[in-house]
C-alpha cells in the first residue's frame, strides 16, 4: 500500500480527517487535565473524554476513507469569504476601541461594497443610516447597554460625557 501522500493528491476526506484527529487528540489530552471527583469517580472529566474519543474516532475513519478516495479535492476558501470574515473580526476589534457608532459607520459601506453595491451615494447613506438605525432600535428603544470604545467613543461626545 502506498502511503506517500503528496499535496497534489490529498483528498478532502484526508484533510478533514487530519483536522478532526488533531482536535480529538488535543482535546483528549486537555480532558485528562480536568480533575476527577474527590471520591475517585470520573466526575467532570467523563463527558469531555467521551466527546474527544468520538471526535478522534471520527477523524481516524475520515482519514481511512480519505486515503482510499482521492477524487474529491479540498477546496480553498474563496477570497471574498476571507475578506468578509476579516471585516467581521476587524469590526469587533473597532467596536471595542472606537465604539459602536463610528465602527459601524466605517464597516457598513465596506460590507455593502463586498456584496457588489458600488453606488457612492448608497454607500454614504449606509455609513450614516446603519449606525443611527441600529443605535435607535437596540440602544434607545430596547435599552441594551451599548459597547463603549476604549480609545474614543462618539456616543460620549454626543451625550456630553
Amino acid at each position: 500500500m502506498n502511503l506517500q501522500v503528496s499535496t497534489k493528491n490529498l483528498s478532502q476526506g484526508f484533510v478533514i480527517g487530519v483536522v478532526l484527529t488533531t482536535f480529538g487528540i488535543a482535546i483528549l489530552i486537555a480532558s485528562f487535565q480536568i480533575d476527577k471527583d474527590p471520591g475517585g469517580g470520573w466526575g467532570a472529566r467523563i463527558f469531555p473524554m467521551f466527546g474527544s474519543i468520538t471526535l478522534l474516532m471520527a477523524g481516524i475513519l475520515e482519514l481511512r476513507f480519505g486515503l482510499r478516495n482521492t477524487q474529491t479535492k479540498p477546496d480553498y476558501i474563496p477570497s471574498n469569504i476571507l475578506v468578509l470574515f476579516g471585516l467581521a473580526i476587524g469590526y469587533i476589534f473597532f467596536i471595542g476601541k472606537i465604539g459602536y457608532l463610528l465602527s459601524t459607520g466605517l464597516v457598513a459601506p465596506l460590507i455593502f461594497l463586498v456584496f457588489g453595491v458600488k453606488n457612492l451615494i448608497g454607500l454614504f447613506v449606509s455609513a450614516v443610516l446603519c449606525p443611527v438605525a441600529y443605535h435607535l432600535i437596540f440602544f434607545e428603544l430596547l435599552g441594551v447597554f451599548p459597547p463603549y470604545g476604549k480609545w474614543f467613543d462618539l456616543l460620549n461626545v454626543i451625550q456630553g460625557n
Binding site: Q12, I16, L20, F23, I27, A30, I34, D35, D37, G40, G41, W42, G43, A44, I46, F47, P48, F50, G51, S52, T54, L55, A58, G59, L61, E62, F65, D75, P78, N80, I81, L84, F85, A88, I89, Y91, I92, I95, G96, Y100, T104, V107, A108, I111, F112, V114, F115, G116, V117, S126, C130, Y134, F138, L142, G143, V144, F145, P147
Partner: protein, 503 residues
C-alpha cells in the same frame, strides 16, 4: 377544555394577537426568501424577545417557525429555489405548475395543505403531550441518559449525507458546551485561564453565527447565481388559477395521510420537516392514481409534501416539552427562550407552567389560521414583493444585524467574536457536509445528557452496566444502534445502486 380557555384568553389579548400576526407575516417573508430560513430569523430575533413577556416571546418565535415552514413553498413554486430544505419536495411539482401559468393555484393548494397538516399536528400535540409527560415523569437518570444518547445518535446520523461527519458535528458541539465551569463540581474545563470562557459559550451567538452569518457567507459565495422568476401573468389565466372543489378533492386523501406521516416523523428528535416532506411525497406518488403526472405538475404532488412539512411543527415540540429534548433547530432555540425566562423544561413543565403551555398551543392554532388566511389571498403578491428586495442590500443588513443581535443577548463583545467564528464554521460545515443542525441540537442535549450520565454513575457506583440492566434504558440503546445500523445500510445501498433520474 383547557385549550378552549386558552384560545379565549389569547383572542381577548390584543397585544399577544399582534405578536402572533407579526410572527405569521415575518415567518412567511423569511421562509420565502431563498437562503433565509425560519431558524435564521428566529436566531436573529431571539435577543429581541428577552425584552418581551414569556408567552409573547415563545408565541412569536413558535409561530415564525410555523409560517416560515409554509413560506418556503412560495419560493419553491415561484423561483424554483426552495426557501427551506423541506420545501424542496414541493418544488418538484410546484415549479412545473408555475411554468404552466398555474402558480396561484399551486400556492393555494400549498396553503390549504400546510394549514390542514399543521392543524392536525397541533391537535395531536395538544392531546398527546400530556400522556408523554406523565410517562416521562416516571423515568430515572439512566433511562433519561439513554434517551439523550439515542437522540444524539439519531440526529447525528440521520441528518446530512455523512454519518461520520454528523457524529463529529455532535461531538464538537458537546465539547464546546463543556467550556466553562462544571455546574456540579465547579471545576474549570477548557477555559485556558480566559475569564470570558469561564462563563461558557452561549447558545444565542452560536446559533446566530451558524444559521445567520453562515448563510450570509453562503450567499456571498453564490452571489452570481441569479434567481429566475416565472413571469407568466396569472391574471391572464384567472380561469385556470381558480381552485375548485373538483381540483382540491383528489388532494384530500394525500393531505390527511401526509399529515399523519409528518406528525409521526415530527415526534422523533432530529427527523425534521425535509425528511417528512420527502417520505410523504414518495408515499403519495406510490399510491397515486395519476402517478405519471407527478413530477410534471400534479396538484397532489404539492399537497402531500406541504401537509407533511407543516405537520412536523406541532409534534416536534413533544420531546422538547416533555423531556427537554429539542426535535428540531427551532425547538433548540425555544429551549433558550424557556431558560432565559426562568421556565424549566421537561416533564415538570406541565405541573409548573401548564397554563403557559396551553396558551402557547392556542397561539400556535391562531398563528396557523392567520398565515393560512394571509397566504391564501396574498402569497402571489408576497412572492413578487420578495423578488423586488435586492439581495445586495438585504444580506449586508442581515450581516450587521447579526452582530448587534449577538451583542444584545448578554452585552458581551466576546459573544460577538464567538458568533463571527461560528459563522465561518457554519459555512464550512455546510460546504463539507457536516451537520449544522446536529451541531446546534447537541448543544442543548449536552447539558442534560452529562447531568443524567453522572447521576447514573453515582447510582451505580461508577458502573456502566446500569444502562443494560434496566429494560427501558436498554430499549433506547437498542433503538440508537438499530437506527445507526439502518442508516449505514441505506447509505451503503445508495452507493451500490445505479443512479436513476426519477424522483
Amino acid at each position: 377544555m383547557e385549550i378552549f380557555n386558552a384560545l379565549a384568553g389569547v383572542i381577548t389579548n390584543p397585544m399577544l394577537m399582534l405578536w402572533v400576526l407579526a410572527a405569521a407575516i415575518i415567518g412567511m417573508i423569511v421562509g420565502a426568501i431563498p437562503g433565509l430560513t425560519a431558524s435564521a430569523a428566529i436566531a436573529m430575533l431571539l435577543p429581541l424577545t428577552f425584552y418581551m413577556e414569556p408567552l409573547s416571546a415563545l408565541a412569536f418565535l413558535y409561530v415564525i417557525g410555523k409560517s416560515g415552514r409554509y413560506g418556503g413553498s412560495i419560493a419553491a413554486i415561484l423561483f424554483n429555489t426552495p426557501g427551506t430544505a423541506a420545501s424542496a419536495a414541493t418544488q418538484i411539482d410546484g415549479y412545473p405548475l408555475a411554468q404552466k401559468g398555474m402558480a396561484s393555484k399551486a400556492m393555494k393548494v400549498a396553503t390549504l395543505s400546510s394549514v390542514i397538516g399543521d392543524f392536525i399536528g397541533e391537535v395531536l400535540l395538544i392531546f398527546g403531550v400530556g400522556l408523554i409527560a406523565a410517562i416521562a415523569l416516571s423515568l430515572g437518570p439512566p433511562e433519561l441518559f439513554t434517551i439523550y444518547f439515542a437522540a444524539f445518535v439519531v440526529i447525528s446520523s440521520v441528518i446530512g449525507k455523512s454519518i461520520i461527519r454528523g457524529l463529529a458535528s455532535a461531538a464538537l458541539r458537546v465539547l464546546i458546551k463543556m467550556i466553562g465551569i462544571d455546574p456540579i463540581s465547579s471545576e474549570e474545563r477548557f477555559t485556558f485561564g480566559n475569564f470570558d470562557m469561564t462563563n461558557g459559550i452561549s447558545l444565542v451567538p452560536l446559533m446566530i453565527g451558524v444559521f445567520v452569518l453562515g448563510e450570509v457567507f453562503s450567499q456571498l459565495e453564490a452571489r452570481k447565481n441569479k434567481i429566475k422568476i416565472i413571469n407568466k401573468n396569472d391574471s391572464e389565466n384567472n380561469a385556470i388559477n381558480r381552485l375548485s372543489w373538483i381540483d382540491f378533492k383528489p388532494c384530500i386523501p394525500h393531505i390527511i395521510r401526509s399529515s399523519f406521516i409528518g406528525s409521526f416523523i415530527g415526534v422523533l428528535p432530529g427527523m425534521g420537516s425535509s425528511i417528512a416532506a420527502f417520505v410523504a411525497y414518495g408515499e403519495g406518488k406510490r399510491r397515486a392514481k395519476n402517478m405519471n403526472e407527478w413530477g410534471s405538475g400534479a396538484l397532489e404532488g404539492v399537497a402531500a409534501p406541504e401537509a407533511a412539512n407543516n405537520a412536523v411543527s406541532g409534534p416536534s415540540m413533544a420531546p422538547l416539552l416533555t423531556l427537554g429534548i429539542p426535535g428540531s433547530t427551532i425547538g433548540a432555540i425555544l429551549v433558550g427562550v424557556f431558560l432565559i425566562h426562568g421556565i424549566p423544561i421537561g416533564p415538570t413543565l406541565f405541573i409548573t407552567s401548564r397554563e403557559l403551555v396551553f396558551n402557547l398551543f392556542a397561539c400556535g392554532l391562531i398563528g396557523i389560521a392567520l398565515y393560512g388566511l394571509i397566504g391564501y389571498f396574498c402569497a402571489p403578491f408576497l412572492g413578487r414583493f420578495i423578488t423586488k428586495i435586492p439581495r445586495d442590500v438585504l444580506y449586508p443588513i442581515i450581516f450587521l444585524t447579526s452582530f448587534i443581535a449577538a451583542y444584545a443577548s448578554r452585552g458581551s463583545l466576546f459573544d460577538v467574536l464567538v458568533m463571527a467564528v461560528a459563522g465561518l464554521a457554519g459555512w464550512l460545515m455546510k460546504k463539507y457536509d457536516f451537520n449544522p443542525a446536529a451541531f446546534i441540537i447537541s448543544f442543548v442535549l449536552a447539558g442534560g445528557a452529562e447531568e443524567t450520565l453522572r447521576q447514573s454513575l453515582l447510582l451505580s457506583d461508577n458502573g456502566l452496566f446500569i444502562f443494560v440492566t434496566r429494560p427501558v434504558a436498554l430499549g433506547f440503546l437498542f433503538i440508537a444502534f438499530f437506527a445507526l445500523f439502518i442508516r449505514m445500510r441505506s447509505l451503503t445501498h445508495q452507493t451500490r445502486k445505479p443512479r436513476f433520474n426519477d424522483v
